[in-house]
């Protein structure tokens, strides 16, 4: 009975082993995702303390984009805030990380203590973002020690307050993001550089290519996949930023990023709405989902395309 076929089929164990993951995923991720889409078409209202909902079509979307009378386009405003703060952190981050990664992995000009440098620059990314945000706020607040010192040595005017300035607050939030994540990006880029065949550099040496030329025409093109990975994960993570702007400079009453709502992120908006207006909160989530999806698709397709085009061009040249 036991051996119907030749040998026992173990396939069913495969299903048993992957079952917990898929049950948990379907229940706690996929089902909520589908429901979030569904809720975005509903209007919620309370009567006598009880909650009611009715079908509202695309009304929620009109509301969040400010197309309905009396509504403001908060989603666009907060997307703008979020993207601005992310870009201001990412451009310096990728440049500094490329420089450090190239230097720390350079085999010709070998530096001592690279292990310690890696450990130190990665440190900020494991610290609780909430604590980091409050720490930076304490250091840079109106009476904070860094603000005072900068005022005393005359870098900023004696009345300057970072928290009252849009650029000051956004700049500091970007600085925190940069400070937390450039070490992580550097380590990822180093592992990418380590994966490049050293024979290529030897060949470039024989051909007389200098350090900069090797970096520009060898390291950089070969790092493209890992840079794409860094860019996509950072962009997706950046769009969801919550901890840092939510704790850095909010009003004392709620999640409105001061000054004048210019440092409020999209997820702070979701957090503001989730209890009072489920339909709207779900709609904002759907918009965030769409933007995340579109951005990753664009990044993947443009980066991939360029590579293919370049290859095709090289192919044609060879054919001539």
């Amino acid at each position: 009975m036991k051996k119907k076929k030749k040998g026992v089929s173990y396939g069913k164990y495969g299903y048993m082993f992957i079952a917990p993951f898929f049950i948990a995923y379907l229940l706690f991720q996929l089902w909520p995702l589908i429901n979030t889409f569904y809720y975005s078409t509903l209007e919620y209202y309370k009567r006598n303390g009880r909650e009611f909902s009715s079908f509202a079509g695309i009304q929620n979307f009109l509301n969040v984009f400010g197309l309905a009378p009396g509504e403001k386009a908060y989603v666009l405003q907060y997307l703008g805030n979020t993207v601005t703060m992310w870009v201001m952190n990412f451009i310096p981050q990728i440049l500094v990380s490329l420089l450090l990664a190239a230097w720390l992995s350079n085999q010709k000009i070998k530096l001592k203590g690279t292990g310690a440098v890696k450990v130190i620059i990665y440190l900020p990314s494991i610290i609780t973002a909430a604590s980091v945000s409050v720490l930076f706020h304490a250091l840079f607040s109106q009476y904070g020690p860094i603000t005072k010192t900068l005022q005393n040595i005359g870098i900023i005017s004696p009345t300057y307050d970072f928290m009252a300035s849009t650029m000051g607050t956004r700049g500091l939030i970007s600085l925190i993001l940069f400070w937390m994540w450039y070490g992580n990006t550097t380590l990822l880029l180093i592992s990418g550089i380590m994966g490049i065949d050293p024979g290529l550099y030897e060949a470039a040496d024989i051909d007389g290519a200098g350090g900069w030329q090797q970096f520009r025409y060898l390291t950089l093109p070969l790092l493209k996949p890992i840079m794409l990975y860094v860019l996509v994960t950072s962009a997706i993570g950046g769009l969801q930023m919550y901890d840092i702007p939510a704790l850095f400079n909010p009003t004392s009453t709620g999640l409105v990023g001061q000054p004048n709502d210019t440092s409020t992120s999209v997820t702070m908006y979701i957090m503001r709405l989730y209890n009072s207006d489920v339909g709207k909160a779900a709609t904002v989530s759907v918009v965030l989902f769409a933007v995340t999806l579109v951005i990753s698709l664009i990044l993947f397709s443009t980066m991939g395309d360029k590579e293919e085009k370049r290859l095709a061009k090289a192919e044609r040249r060879r054919a001539k």
Partner: protein, 287 residues
């Protein structure tokens, strides 16, 4: 002769320059921690006077003031740390154990939907939690699980990135012959997994456990939505309180509060840094 001399001199200059830049970034990374430690030892008035790198003697006093201020509050720092631990430890176990199990199922067995299951995990790896949170919150509300730790622990079973990492690791370390041998010896499939596969995977399990612990310990978004009773709240939520008017009036208290939430993590990191730094590189190459 001369040429090689000037070459080595320029190399030296180049090296020096690189050392200076690297040192600069190390200082940038460490400076906020140094200021934190220094300020935690200074009095509120001294802190407001400006940056100083000289420690003072008010650490104990600041700590006592913190205890005094949180007196009568539902959520104390100690309580919040305990709550975080109560969520993070089982959560980390769930995500690492079940992810290893999932990766093992896909790696070792042949079944019809194996390819589909793997592609599915790869596809959903980058979907962020924040997008599904409204549906998730309503679901938990309907089940009556809001304000419990269940929504913060059980969903950790499905962690696509951990599965991905484990599968990559298994491809290079787990030999199917060994599993075959265990089978012949009469070991059941689950016993083989628990007694043979998991011990072989120890280095990967340790690395992922560290990363999962950090990620769940630092999480603010989901607990903020799920927990409403003060005494159940987590450490990052307590940190949020440090920014409120109740504490803000005394800077020494704010810094000592941050000191207690940050410095243990720094120490744990420095002890485990070898595994963590190697883990980042490993996750990145194939990620």
């Amino acid at each position: 002769m001369n040429k090689s001399k000037s070459y080595s001199a320029s190399l030296k200059r180049q090296k020096l320059f690189r050392y200076i830049v690297c040192a600069f970034f190390c200082i940038i990374s460490l400076l906020p921690f140094i200021l934190l430690v220094m300020n935690a030892t200074r009095s509120s008035a001294a802190i407001q006077a400006g940056v100083s790198l000289i420690p003072s003697t008010h650490l104990i006093e600041n700590w006592k003031n913190l205890l005094l201020k949180q007196n009568g509050m539902q959520l104390t720092l100690q309580r919040a740390a305990l709550n975080s631990l109560l969520i993070t430890v089982p959560g980390t176990f769930c995500s690492v154990y079940f992810s290893t199990m999932t990766a093992y199922g896909i790696q070792v067995y042949n079944f019809k939907f194996k390819k589909f299951a793997w592609s599915f995990i790869m596809a959903v790896m980058m979907v962020p939690n924040q997008i599904t949170i409204i549906g998730f919150y309503r679901f938990m509300l309907n089940l009556g699980l809001v304000d419990t730790y269940v929504p913060l622990i059980v969903p950790a079973i499905a962690a696509p990135t951990v599965v991905f990492f484990m599968k990559q690791y298994m491809e290079s370390t787990l030999s199917l012959e060994m599993i075959e041998a265990a089978r012949i010896d009469g070991s059941s499939e689950f016993r083989t997994f628990n007694r043979i596969a998991v011990p072989i995977m120890k280095p990967a399990v340790a690395t992922q456990a560290i990363f999962q612990f950090i990620a769940q310990w630092n999480n603010l978004f989901t607990p903020t939505m799920m927990l409403t009773t003060d005494s159940k709240k987590t450490l990052p939520m307590f940190v949020q309180l440090l920014n409120s008017d109740q504490f803000r009036t005394d800077y020494g208290v704010v810094y000592v509060g941050l000191f207690v939430t940050i410095i243990p993590l720094v120490i744990a990191y420095l002890i485990l840094s070898k595994y963590i730094v190697a883990g980042v590189a490993l996750g990145g190459v194939k990620g």
